[in-house]
């Protein structure tokens, strides 16, 4: 049969630091692959057209919408989800600040919110509240009203900047 109408595609990628090989349906979104095939249910599917940010994950260093990318496009990619970022300890301070400030209520947006916030913080410096708000403006949270999230990210930015100069 012709290669042109393949509906299954073989991919090899790194997910949370571990090699993964899989045969995926051509139309499967990366978020569904992570959730359904790998059991990584931290990131969530919600609006499924790139607006709400609940599916935000890290692909090759960038915060990416897992619902706007096909699993097949992740061939060779390095993917990190909240589970991997938790295990590595990379966002431990951010997670601690979110809990301390109650910067989450239902928690459905939180894994995506954390990946987006970490992308901003990893650039270094101490972003202003306005810059934090702007950077997180693609991540919808219906519960908190955002202020606690901004507070938590601002606190961590300050702490990290302080440690960096110490």
């Amino acid at each position: 049969m012709s290669e042109i109408i393949r509906d299954q595609i073989d991919i090899a990628l790194m997910v949370n630091g571990e090699p993964v090989e899989a045969r995926v349906p051509a139309g499967q979104h990366l978020i569904d692959f992570l959730r359904l095939e790998l059991g990584l249910t931290g990131a969530h599917a919600s609006c499924e057209h790139g607006v709400c940010g609940a599916c935000t994950i890290r692909v090759n260093g960038d915060a990416v919408r897992g619902c706007l990318m096909l699993a097949a496009q992740a061939e060779g990619a390095e993917v990190w989800t909240v589970e991997g970022l938790t295990d590595s300890g990379e966002i431990a301070d951010l997670q601690e600040a979110f809990v301390a400030r109650n910067a989450l209520q239902c928690g459905f947006c939180t894994p995506g919110m954390l990946v987006a916030a970490q992308e901003l913080l990893s650039r270094g410096g101490a972003p202003s509240r306005e810059e934090i708000r702007e950077h997180l403006s693609g991540n919808y949270c219906r519960c908190t009203g955002y202020e606690a999230i901004i507070d938590a990210v601002e606190t961590v930015a300050g702490d990290r900047a302080g440690k960096g100069t110490a």
Binding site: P25, G27, Q28, R35, L40, T41, G42, A43, H44, A45, S46, C47, E48, H49, V51, C52, A54, T81, V82, E83, T86, Q95, F98, V99, A100, N102, L104, Q105, C106, G107, F108, C109, T110, P111, L114, R129, I132, R133, E134, L136, S137, G138, N139, Y140, C141, R142, C143, T144, G145, Y146, E147, A148, I149, I150
Partner: protein, 793 residues
Amino acid sequence: MTIQFGNPDRPNSYIGKTVPRPNAGRLVQGRGRFVDDVVLPRMTHVAFVRSPYAHARIGAIGFEAARRVKGVVRVFTGADLAAVCTPWVAVLAHLKGLKSPPQYPLAVERACWVGEPVAAVVATTRAAAEEAASLVEVEYEALPAVTDMMSALDEGTPVLHPDLGDNLAFRRVHEEGDVEDAFAKAHKVVSAEFSTARHTGVTLEPRSILVDFNPAEGQLTAWHATQAPHMMQTVFAKHLDLPESRVRVICGDVGGSYGIKVHVYPDEVAAAAIAKVMGRPVKFVADRLESFTTDIHARDHKIKARIAVDADGRILAMDVDDWTAIGAYSVYPRTSAIEGNQVVNLCGGPYDFANYRASTTVVFQNKTPTCQYRAVGHPIAVAITEGLVDMAAAELGLDPVEIRRRNMYADDAYPVTSPAKMRFEGLSHHASMDKLLALMDYDALRADQAEARARGVHRGIGIASFIELTNPSPFMYGIGGARISAQDGCTVRMDPDGSVVALSGVTEQGQGTEAMLAQVVAEGVGVSPDKVRVITGDTQVTPYGGGTWASRGAGIGGEAALQSARALRESILTVAAAMLQSDPEKLDIRAGAVVDSDTGEERLSLEELGRIVYFRGDTLPKGLPRELVQTRHFITSDYPFAFTNGVQASYLEVDVETGVVTLLKHWCVEDCGRIINPQLVDEQIRGGIVQGLGGALYEEIHYDEDGQLLNGSMADYLVPMAAEMPDMVVGHVETPTKESLLGAKGAGEAGTAGAPAAVMNAINDALRPLGACVTEMPFTPERILRALGAIEG
């Protein structure tokens, strides 16, 4: 023994303190367990074929192409499910005259709104179910659609449900005093028309349910993103002909509710019916378009109202004519007449006046059904009331604060009954206003506004006082015949290691219920909160209760938890007294140990007491009560509802060239009685405010005249995002309810109740020098520019 709440140094003083939420750590690590995360053996997925017409007769349904999709297991029509699931009718006896037709899990014969489920396809994967559903061929015969609210009762308008006779679902008229006489004698009468847009909740987690049926046991188990597990247990049992004892509803993590997930949805009942037919697990998770077309909508009201004042600005009378269109069905079992009814109950709420007339007219139309959504009716009533009060103040040349001071119930006036016949046990309007003005530095803000105006910058300050209905008694639903529990219960037990488990009938939707319960139980027993494990959301495990709605978790569920914890404390001390040969009255439990109550000296750890009771009961006196499990229930009985009060303020800037509103800051002072966890209360207020701000500035479901929903995506239905939202200052006055030892009232809806009115008044304050006024929400740039006369038509 009472608890010295006023003494922050008392032993075990966890009530009133910010303690961390036990479930937050799991959620930040992505270890939440939402319904879509649950996978069962032999699980199937159901996708629904939904009506593309607002109103249509359903003809033949062709499943041929759908059945050919690999993975499809079974298909269902409305008739198929009607054979195994009885229809429901959403009326309540105390809402006299309310009518609604029988509703089925899948439409039978007729579809009545765009998105109503018409057929179902079950497959082994969701992708296959969705693909197959798209291939189902339904023959529709389009029928005339009723889509305009104000002409729904006109003679020429088709009747949506012919068996009901007309399109009127419900009407209530309330009149107190002599309204016409008061208006005739008034110094000034101000009239206005208001409208609030159709909203929906936009929970980030879509509605989700996974149902399994085990025919061998006759047992139905539903993992359900719901606010009311016991109510759903009753609903599934009743309509699927199962004993209630054979239905278990499990509610794990829920990704946002706000009222959206407290209703009975046809597609969710269909999933349960299909599971029962197939004898295997069926999962349904709505996609975003399904959320927009089938999650309940709310707030679609048009109001004509007027207020009469004397020369001093005293309110003489209010007259409110409210209309709302609820879609094609009243929603089961809470009904869709409650929101309009609330508008009648709540208008004029903060004010001491005598003459009041209000009516609500609730009509059917071919749109998504509306029902209770966070702060039910409050944002509408507060906008009407506070809008009129501000307009009257402007007419009289009074400051908005001053006219409110002249009319709010005095803080020592309670108990008092309002002209809407609402009974207030104790409110604090004046103290709250004082606190608000201090927090916002009102005079300095007015000076800033004047300075800005001199520069041609149009800033406005808006104030909105409000009351909020919380801690409902059976007067809300139970007296109308609905099996919705106003009572709630808590079971508290001490395990051998001295730790405590609390099982509660109220549920966690992210608001912090489990943290609140943990600290109440910790204080009640005398252990630290980390020694308390809270279990909610499982009908097979927890005491029967109502769940989360009408701001009842802390006030009702918290009191049940406190009472059960105090009872357990007594049981523990009875055993301890026998072991220590002491008097229980001379002992106390502090930080997980039995102590001498006078000296605080530790006598016995709870771990040691647990070891003796569970493993060496032989060493205790025969017949000594040793029940380390206690259950208590709580229901309010002195008042139908515990009203709270508060006041909000908005400071904003209107760009008169573009019509864009920029929110500068927002304040709220709220009196929810005893505060159990200050941080959780503040964050409920903030989240609520932003939900209200969405309604004020962005949120509006649009339909065309044929009943097609035009903005069913998150790109087209705007919700508040981080960049546009202001920082919010939250303050409190505490007037505990005397109905309970805990004294807590609800806090979850106050933010949403007052925010839209505060924004409306602030915009109009900014625009007043330009002669413009807006009363139609949301206040989009277009509406503001039209009010300014900058664009026409």
